[in-house]
Amino acid sequence: MGRVIRNYEEGDEITPLVKELTQEAINLFEGSAGNTGPSQFTDEHAAKEVLGTEGTVASGRMSLTFAIEMLRRHFSPEVFNHTGTVDLRFLRPVRPGDTITFTGKVTGVSREANGNRVSVDLEVKNQKGDTTGIGQGSAIVPNAFLPPEDL
């Protein structure tokens, strides 16, 4: 992918990202790191024991991953994979069968020594409209990715 040169402004909406959580997806996420034993994420009995819930939940780190994906798509991998951050608070459990939607809005652009820092507010909602997570993200967009008038 070529270098995308564009400007960023306060109020810019991030294209939303929608994910449907399944137990299979959760198992793959956990299994990718070799976590194959029963846990609150993969086993209903373990979830009941540890969390007191009737079913499994998805790790908050899956939501973190999805927020990173949304911002990577917005800023481009060339930028976000090297300067991106996400800080997410988990407000409600996300469970298998949930459809969660990530949204974001640019809240500020400030000059840094090596580019422009673009700050974003993030929100995650499930299919019922309940907020499951909120947070912030940012990326420092290097000067080489900014139009000349923004330098």
Partner: protein, 139 residues
């Protein structure tokens, strides 16, 4: 023969902020990356390290407790890791706090690869009373 669990039972009051754990190393394989990408339904997902939960791995190797639930997590991307490289993780206790009578521990970890390339940084706030999830959100 059954393995002996020689982990220390967590004493939250005694836990020292700044405690740094032994370095943890692992080989990141292409299979791990592929499985991670399937799980997160994103063929370009670049940080499979997230699933490895390396910030709490060394803590969990040393301490035993009632379990935990992730309350907040921050992630800093520096360079996507490369399959076939060993990753070296340094993790430490970054903070601990009480909120509404509940105990939290903040762990932080930085990963670099075998060539010294900085990969990522992760900071996690864990609630150490995980049964609060069931109490608050029920079944």
């Amino acid at each position: 023969m059954a393995e002996v669990d020689d982990r220390i039972e967590l004493d939250w009051d005694a836990l020292e902020v700044g405690e740094t754990f032994d370095k943890f190393e692992y080989l990141l394989t292409q299979e791990m990356i592929d499985t991670y990408r399937k799980g997160v339904m994103d063929p370009e997902a670049s940080f499979p390290t997230i699933a490895h939960k390396v910030d709490v791995r060394q803590y969990n190797d040393k301490y035993t407790d009632a379990g935990s639930v992730n309350a907040r997590c921050a992630f800093h991307c520096y360079n996507p890791p490369v399959a076939g490289k060993r990753l070296i993780v340094t993790a430490w206790i970054a903070d601990k706090y009480l909120r509404r009578g509940k105990n939290y521990i903040v762990t932080e970890a930085v990963s670099v690869d075998e060539d010294g390339r900085l990969i990522d940084r992760v900071i996690t706030h864990e609630l150490k009373q995980p049964s609060e999830v069931g109490k608050k959100w029920g079944g």
